[in-house]
């Protein structure tokens, strides 16, 4: 069709808009949510219920000066926030929002997502390194070790999913789970046998929190230890882009969790599936992430690595083995 040229443009605009709105309003949601949990109203002055707050924040950030301190690596310092945004937005391309809303259904989309997730860590490393600030460098080093440690269990759980679905295409994985919540990977019944995939789901969810550097695993930001971590020297939109990148990573993480474990756009009761179900699922997941953040204190670096190496990795390995055995036997 002649729409072939329009398709990428529509999707590009759509994804950008989705990303922008999410990045802006997740900040608002987070503040409102935190407020309610702490029994205060949250932002409420700018617009009704503070709904215009993200706009005000955005204008404020954009009109401020991007301070480039003396002695920083000017180019990398400026580029790092942009690099933080690229993987977050690019990841959206392969996410199937519903049966017919997806920018590009790639065969190896899971692989692409993980490759991009590693790139997000590079941005933190570059930003922290270029700042020439000791807090920022400590923060970068933490972020790298953390991301390395948590990618392994995350990948292992995904391998189990890929084995069940027999595909690395997110669309296929989602389609494989259609038809009500008992078909979803998290509650999966296979030939009358219960696959303990909820273990994988919990591991994956913990890892996605850790991968996005969210509390209680926000070692890289750790505002009471490292001031603001890798963002210490950033002001204006440099800071703004990092923040947006962080929120978008959460969105991508939630999308991935929803697709892999919660049946994508499937309706839990086996009725008409649709994009609304998908959005509902991801926002429930995002709310949980916010909820977790405002409940727990931060962990410690070696506790975090202990959790990964001593608990999550063994569990995910066993998970892969058991899944493989089930698939082979039944």
């Amino acid at each position: 069709m002649e729409t072939s040229i329009w398709r990428p443009i529509i999707y590009l605009v759509g994804i950008m808009a989705f990303a922008g709105v999410n990045a802006a309003y997740l900040g608002w949601c987070e503040r409102k949510g935190a407020g309610r949990i702490q029994r205060r109203p949250g932002p409420k002055e700018v617009g009704p219920a503070g709904l215009l707050q993200p706009l005000a924040d955005g204008i404020k950030l954009m009109t401020k000066q991007l301070l480039v301190p003396q002695g920083v690596d000017g180019i990398i310092f400026r580029v790092a926030p942009v690099i933080a945004m690229i993987p977050a937005i690019t990841s959206m391309v392969v996410i199937p929002f519903s049966g017919n809303i997806q920018a590009r259904a790639m065969e190896l989309s899971v692989l692409l997502l993980f490759a991009l997730a590693s790139l997000a860590m590079i941005a933190i490393l570059l930003g922290g390194w270029a700042s020439g600030n000791k807090y920022a460098i400590i923060s970068s080093a933490r972020a790298v070790s953390q991301n390395l440690a948590y990618e392994i269990p995350m990948l292992l759980t995904v391998i189990a999913i890929v084995m069940i679905s027999g595909s690395m295409n997110l669309r296929d994985i989602a389609i494989d789970q259609q038809g009500g919540f008992w078909h979803w990977n998290i509650f999966r019944f296979e030939n009358g046998h219960f696959l303990y995939m909820w273990v994988g789901f919990i591991i994956f969810f913990i890892c996605s929190i850790a991968e996005t550097n969210r509390a209680p695993f926000d070692m890289a930001e750790a505002e009471s230890e490292l001031v603001a971590g890798f963002m210490t020297e950033y002001s204006s939109m440099g800071f703004g882009l990092f923040m947006m990148g962080e929120y978008l990573n959460i969105v991508v993480g939630a999308c991935l969790t929803a697709t892999l474990f919660l049946g994508g756009w499937d309706c839990p009761f086996g009725q008409t599936p649709g994009v609304w179900w998908f959005l509902l699922k991801i926002y429930i997941l995002i709310f949980t992430v916010i909820w977790v953040r405002w409940t727990f204190p931060r962990t410690q670096v070696y506790r975090l690595l202990n959790l990964s190496w001593k608990i999550l990795i063994p569990f995910s390995l066993v998970n892969v083995l058991v899944t493989a055995a089930f698939i082979k036997v039944f």
Binding site: R36, Q38, R39, R40, T295
Partner: protein, 146 residues
């Protein structure tokens, strides 16, 4: 090894309990006082900056310029002048300047006053860009109030 499993079990349970608590609080009403819209009532003993007490009949300050408050003040905030007017029995106040920039709201002045001439005001919205706003002429303040 038993520590390993119990850590996981007890730990997960404690985490879930924590999440339940924050969830419960999420649905409870907010406790914030909406400050500029809801103005708190100051308690009876609230120690704001001081003000002069007017005489119930004449409306003039009760102060007889005995200087007790000036002496009691630890930070030299108070400077007052008084003189004996024609026909009066007691001295009366000419000026009473409170330098609120130095005041630590300790209340020594009110306590030292034996003539029921000083009290704490209930004013707490004290903010200004100008330092001179806090050098308060209490006599004038009293006149403005009347």
């Amino acid at each position: 090894m038993s520590g390993y499993w119990s850590d996981i079990l007890v730990g997960s349970k404690s985490l879930l309990t924590g999440m339940m608590i924050t969830a419960r609080e999420f649905f409870r009403p907010v406790v914030t006082e909406n400050y500029p819209y809801e103005v708190p009532v100051m308690t009876e003993r609230f120690r704001g900056h001081i003000e002069l007490i007017p005489n119930e009949e004449s409306g003039k300050p009760n102060c007889i310029a005995c200087m007790a408050c000036q002496r009691a003040c630890p930070s030299d905030c108070i400077s007052l002048k008084g003189s004996k007017k024609e026909g009066d029995k007691k001295k009366s106040l000419d000026s009473y300047i409170l330098d609120f920039t130095k005041c630590s709201l300790c209340g020594s002045c009110v306590e030292s006053c034996n003539f029921n001439a000083l009290r704490f005001s209930k004013e707490y919205n004290l903010a200004s860009f100008n330092k001179d706003d806090f050098i308060i002429d209490l006599l004038k303040r009293l006149e403005d109030q009347n």
